[in-house]
């Protein structure tokens, strides 16, 4: 009897300690998520009360050809982010992890990581704007008619992906280096004794053993690129027209510029679902492969 009472009182105090965290999560994370989902079924300009309109916002969203332009740009960001910062990060890690003093080669790549996305946008728009630093440098070497970096699509999205890679390569290289350093020495040495070098060593030993970490790095990159906002807002504001807009910018514009909170929320819900589905599918697939090793 006494034990049972003790156990109950222990449970109650445990609940008490957990409650602040649970309430904070509920208030700060679940409540906004539910509110946004609710708003996506309403027409609401931020004033008065939302009017229920069912699926009208989703209908309007999918009927707008510009929405698919944004979706296309967002997918370009996903692909570009996987190829450039993740690819270069892996390359940098592979080339330097075994080198003496390799850290000094990796370190400079980490410095841009300390800058905010908007800061990166400002720096690169100074470089890439018409007649900006890059155009002036090109003029010095005789290029008189350089590409219009930020005015022509899809070139503007491509150069923005490169600008964002400037920031992202270092941290990916750091993560891959940690992964490479955690690979046990024995199988590596055994493979080398068997004559595996270069691509063969990478393909047969390093890559499979890096997979748990690659899964995390790629998973994080997918999520980060799906919500790309700050660098585009800082460099082109989605323009000219809507040529470089991403879904996150469309969501922001509809919500805070047009005060169409319902449509903005519908895009937010869509983006959340896409991000969740992409992450879950990807991680599931990776985890199951990992189990096979």
């Amino acid at each position: 009897m006494s034990r049972r009472r003790d156990s109950t009182s222990y449970q109650w105090s445990a609940r008490g300690f957990i409650a602040p965290g649970v309430i904070l999560v509920a208030v700060l994370l679940y409540a906004p998520l539910l509110w946004t989902t609710y708003l996506s079924f309403t027409e609401y300009n931020g004033l008065g009360d939302p009017d229920w309109v069912g699926l009208a916002n989703y209908g309007a969203m999918f009927a707008d050809p510009e929405f698919f332009g944004s979706l296309g740009n967002t997918l370009l960001w996903v692909a570009g982010t996987l190829i450039v910062p993740v690819g270069l990060g892996l390359g940098l890690a592979l080339l330097t992890f075994d080198l003496k003093g390799g850290i000094w080669l990796r370190l400079p790549f980490l410095i841009p990581y300390a800058i905010s996305g908007i800061g990166v946008g400002l720096i690169w728009s100074f470089i890439l704007q018409s007649d900006g630093a890059l155009d002036q440098a090109l003029a010095l070497v005789g290029v008189v008619d350089p590409p219009r970096w930020l005015l022509d699509a899809p070139l503007n999205t491509v150069v923005m992906i490169l600008a964002s890679s400037w920031q992202g390569v270092g941290v990916n290289a750091l993560l891959f280096t940690i992964g490479l350093q955690s690979i046990p020495k024995e199988p590596l040495e055994a493979a080398r004794l068997d004559g595996a070098r270069g691509a063969r060593l990478f393909g047969s030993i390093l890559w499979p053993m890096l997979r748990p970490l690659t899964a995390v790095v790629i998973g994080l990159s997918i999520v980060a690129s799906l919500k790309t906002f700050d660098i585009v807002q800082g460099m082109t504001k989605g323009g000219p027209g809507r040529a470089s807009e991403t879904l996150a910018l469309t969501m922001y514009k509809d919500t805070f510029v047009n005060s169409d909170y319902g449509l903005g929320s519908a895009i937010a819900v869509f983006l959340t679902i896409v991000t969740l589905v992409a992450s879950v599918l990807y991680l599931r697939q990776q985890l199951s492969k990992k189990n096979e090793i």
């Binding site: 409650a19 904070l24 931020g46 004033l47 018409s130 005015l151 040529a243 922001y252």
Partner: protein, 426 residues
């Protein structure tokens, strides 16, 4: 020990729950506390003007015992969202800056702003404000808010460049076109343009200067953007684009700096732009000057000048409602407007105010007597149409070409907006 642990756990639960409840409460808002003197909390998206409002506060403190506590937002969209959400709380502002046009109507439709009809009636009777300005503050026959500022959209030019090229202020459209051609021939880009935000002024100028009725029809939905007359006007613009008369749309350099360093000779901007040029180190009359842009079509008489006016409003449910209204009433007075003109160097709307800037004073007088006013495109156009129009003009500036596809996209947004308005009224 156990009981202490339990108590701490319970305390934590209660305090967090209380915190959460506090955060959730506050809907609706209370009535005004009735005070008409004291410290008035003022919110504005003109963060750069905060020092000017602080200067003004000294005059309002001594005149009517109201001190302004100004909070300036530098991001207009963030500010907009903040004001909208504030009406749901008991902290809605006693004074805040806003926009005329559809943005003001939205607030009035929800009974969120205090009516100022009495203040307007008295100010007009006293000759403190022109009848002309009233229409921008009138919704369903009643007035709301008071004018914070008034700006005319005119042409600023680099005087040194004009002098070097032997040019004078143009008095007709043909002269302006000739000046542009001369400048271009001499290797100077005539006009400024951008691909972001301020993409509308040249469209506004060309349409209002060609046919003010057509311009007004666009804002009421009676005229379509794809109307052949609008297409013709866009083709005039395209022709000028093809002649290379506009600065690079991709430049993100401050336009005041661009005018100073001669990236272009002229820029069509609001009469508040002089302050930016002064800040860039230029002197009015020596380094730069301005002129009212002549009508494109000489039959447009009087000439159409775009006017921009931003309101100062009081939230109906603000605890500082009475204080805000007392300030609004004082704001209309010559004393307040003289102090504001001194602080900000802007055109005051009150003809009885003393104007610090002689040239702006003359501009105000000449526009009032010689020209007709049209509402600036930014306020005249309902927001959902405006957003698309600003994007499309930006795209046109970046990649000039057949105007119809650009106009069609704006018209699509206009069709959707007016259909929605029609549905709401039924």
């Amino acid at each position: 020990m156990k009981s202490t642990t339990r108590r701490v756990g319970l305390l934590a639960t209660v305090s967090v729950a209380a915190l959460a409840l506090t955060a959730c409460s506050g809907g609706g808002g209370g009535a005004s506390d009735g005070a008409t003197t004291g410290t008035l909390n003022f919110y504005t998206d003109k963060a750069a003007w905060e020092p000017d409002f602080d200067t003004l506060s000294e005059t309002s403190s001594s005149d009517v015992d109201i001190e302004l506590n100004t909070t300036g937002y530098s991001d207009a969209n963030q500010y907009d969202a903040f004001i909208r959400q504030s009406f749901r709380t008991n902290k809605s502002p006693g004074l805040f800056s806003w926009h005329t046009g559809s943005s003001l109507k939205e607030l009035v439709d929800e009974n969120l702003v205090a009516e100022t009809t009495d203040i307007w009636d008295k100010a007009i009777a006293d000759g403190y404000v022109s009848e002309d300005l009233k229409k921008y503050y009138t919704i369903d026959g009643k007035q709301y808010c008071v004018p914070m500022n008034i700006a005319y959209w005119i042409m600023y030019y680099n005087k040194t460049i004009f002098d070097e090229n032997g040019l004078e202020k143009p008095t007709t459209w043909d002269e302006l076109m000739q000046d542009a051609a001369t400048l271009k021939a001499n290797g100077v880009t005539p006009f400024y343009q951008t691909s972001v935000l301020f993409t509308f002024p040249w469209f506004q100028q060309l349409v209002a200067g060609t046919d003010p009725e057509l311009y007004n029809g666009l804002s009421t939905g009676e005229v379509k953007y794809t109307d052949p007359r609008v297409v013709d006007i866009m083709n005039v613009w395209l022709d000028q684009q093809n002649k290379g008369w506009f600065s690079d749309a991709g430049s993100t350099t401050d336009p005041a700096v661009m005018l100073k360093q001669g990236d272009m000779a002229m820029i069509n901007f609001g009469s508040f732009f002089g302050a930016s040029l002064d800040a860039a180190g230029m002197t009015q009359g020596t380094d730069y000057d301005f002129f009212v842009i002549p009508a494109v079509n000489s039959d447009v008489d009087p000439n159409a000048v775009a006017v921009e006016t931003g309101p100062l409003c009081t939230a109906e449910n603000s605890p500082q409602r009475d204080l805000g209204m007392a300030f609004a009433e004082w704001w209309m007075s010559p004393d307040a407007q003289s102090a504001w003109s001194e602080a900000r160097g802007d055109v005051p709307f009150n003809p009885k105010a003393t104007v610090a800037n002689e040239a702006l004073s003359e501009l105000g007088t000449s526009v009032a007597t010689d020209d007709q006013l049209v509402e600036r495109y930014f306020e005249a156009t309902p927001t959902p149409i405006l957003t698309v129009a600003l994007e499309q003009f930006g795209a046109f500036n970046a990649n000039p070409g057949d105007p119809l596809p650009f106009l069609q996209k704006i018209q699509d947004a206009a069709d959707a907006y007016w259909a929605d308005q029609g549905a709401d009224q039924k």
